[in-house]
Every structure is written in structure tokens, then in C-alpha cells.
Symmetry: C3
Subunit: 116 residues, 3 copies
């Protein structure tokens, strides 16, 4: 996305990303130490554990409903300004697609860009 913005030649604008799924998230988090993402995974696994007997919706397995919960607790939309011809992310911010299901899935992100 950062490369896309740089290549577009836009100086100012707005990028909106929308993940078209209900069991994965778009996350802005620290881009330096991978332990941050591992610790986030551990925290959310403890908060909304797979196999929780609270849930009725278990059609796709023990990780089905916890994945929906983790999505509701985070985000599927992000909107980030373009400033000085680049995405206005902080020094330590990276954009991640966070998969909440146990098995790999193909995921689609819709993007909208406006600017000049």
C-alpha cells in the first residue's frame, strides 16, 4: 500500500481499506518487534478462546465463533491520510491482515483512494 501511494504521485489524499470478511481483521500495530504480534495473538486467544462452551454457532469448528468475536473486538476498516506523497503512518506503525481462523484462508481487501 505504501508503494502504491508512492507510485501514484498523489501528494495529499486518503486511503481507505476494507477487509471483506468476518473472521479476520485489519490491524495497525508495531512493525519492529514480531513479539508484539505474538503477544497480541496470545492475549486474544486467552480473551476469546477456541472451543468456548458459551457459543452456539460452531458450524465451522471450535475456532469459528471466537474468530467472529476477535473481529468484532478489532477492526475491518482503516482510513489513513496521504501527506507529503506518502501514507501518514507513524514511524512504528505497520498495517497487518490478522487471520483469526486456524486454517489458512484467502482474504480480499477493498481499497478506495482519493487525492491529488
Amino acid at each position: 500500500m505504501e508503494r502504491f501511494v508512492e507510485d501514484s504521485g498523489m501528494k495529499t489524499g486518503l486511503v481507505t481499506l476494507h477487509l471483506q470478511h468476518t473472521s479476520a481483521s485489519l490491524l495497525i500495530q508495531e512493525n519492529a518487534d514480531p513479539d508484539v504480534r505474538r503477544d497480541l495473538e496470545h492475549f486474544f486467544s486467552r480473551l476469546a478462546p477456541d472451543g468456548d462452551p458459551l457459543f452456539v454457532h460452531t458450524a465451522e469448528g471450535k475456532d469459528d465463533m471466537p474468530a467472529h468475536v476477535r473481529t468484532a473486538l478489532t477492526a475491518v476498516n482503516l482510513s489513513i491520510p496521504i501527506s507529503n506523497a506518502r501514507l501518514a503512518l507513524g514511524t512504528w506503525q505497520g498495517i497487518y491482515l490478522w487471520e483469526h481462523r486456524l486454517a489458512p484462508h484467502s482474504r480480499i481487501v477493498a481499497a478506495h483512494v482519493i487525492g491529488e
Copy 2:
């Protein structure tokens, strides 16, 4: 909202929804099995239970502060691209207004649409 976009004749653009309240949320979640929304309600009721003695702000009752917490844990803003003359939601995504108070409330959503 989907009908509005289709009727507008726009081909590409961006829809932003903003819920003007602090004890309800805008949620994008599975639109197929209603058990998903029931399980989400149960999960959030366990995570931020009504009547929690932690809270000082109880002016409007036992469900007052838990509703604010559930709002903070979810979202009051959504931004969704318009692509090919329709909202770029995933196949299984629906947009919901999630009421966190026990009594029914009238809620207002502000919308902004840009496109062509």
C-alpha cells in the same frame, strides 16, 4: 444503505457511517446465521457484565457503563468503498446497529457519500 448506493448511480466512491451515540455500535458481521449475533451478545455480556461493581458511573442504571465499555471495544464509525456500483461488502458481511442498553433507544447514524 446498499439500496441507497444502487439508486445513486455511483460507480465508485466511499460511504462513511457515523453513529451519534456512546452506548451502541456499528458492527460489520456475518449476515447468515443469527446465532453469530446472539453469541456476540453473550460474549460481550460476559466480558463487560451489567451491574459490574467496578463502575462508578451508574446514573442511568446497571447497564449504563457496560454499554459505554462495549461501545469502546467495538466501533461507531465505518467506511466502506463503493465498487462496480455497489457497496464493497463481502458475501457474508452485513452492517448492524448494535444496541448495548437494555431498553430500546432511538439512534441516529450520520452518513457521508463521495463518488461518481
Copy 3:
């Protein structure tokens, strides 16, 4: 931000705010009783406590990883329509920068405004 919009002379539009950090949040919450923000702080301190032995990423201290978790559970982006020449916030909504670290930090918010 409300003053900025009023001074701009715009009648309709969209304001997007993006916080350039991974251990603080942008929050829309009740602007009347400060106990709401105090109760939110207490709830999130209980949910993601400082010093949690679950975490490996503790380079900056016991409040380092809990601050990242609290950020992931809330938001760093907000998009709010401008309507009738003012931000379309609800009567009881205020915009807050929520610091999750124990020590004070300087924080930067990038803003994008479009409208007419």
C-alpha cells in the same frame, strides 16, 4: 477539531483522524461525566493489566504490551462527517486521545478533510 471545521466554512464533508502511535487510541465517548473515562480506564486496566506474565514483549516496561493490546481493542482512526457546517457528532460525544502508557508521551494525529 470542531473549531477547525467551523472556521473552514465547509458545509458538508468528511474529517478523518489518524493517530500515529501503537500504544494510545482515539476514542469517541461521553463528554459529560468524567467518571465515564475513569471507569473505562479501570475496565481496560483490569482486562489488559500492566505486568501480565503472558507477555514476552516487555522491552519498555510492564505497561508496554498492555498498551499495545488496549490500542488493538479500540481504534487509531476515526472518520466523522461534516454536516450543516459542523462535525456530525452526537450531543454527548467527545473525541479523546487516550494514552495507554504510564508516562506522558507526545502524540501526533494526522488529519484529512474533504468537503465544500
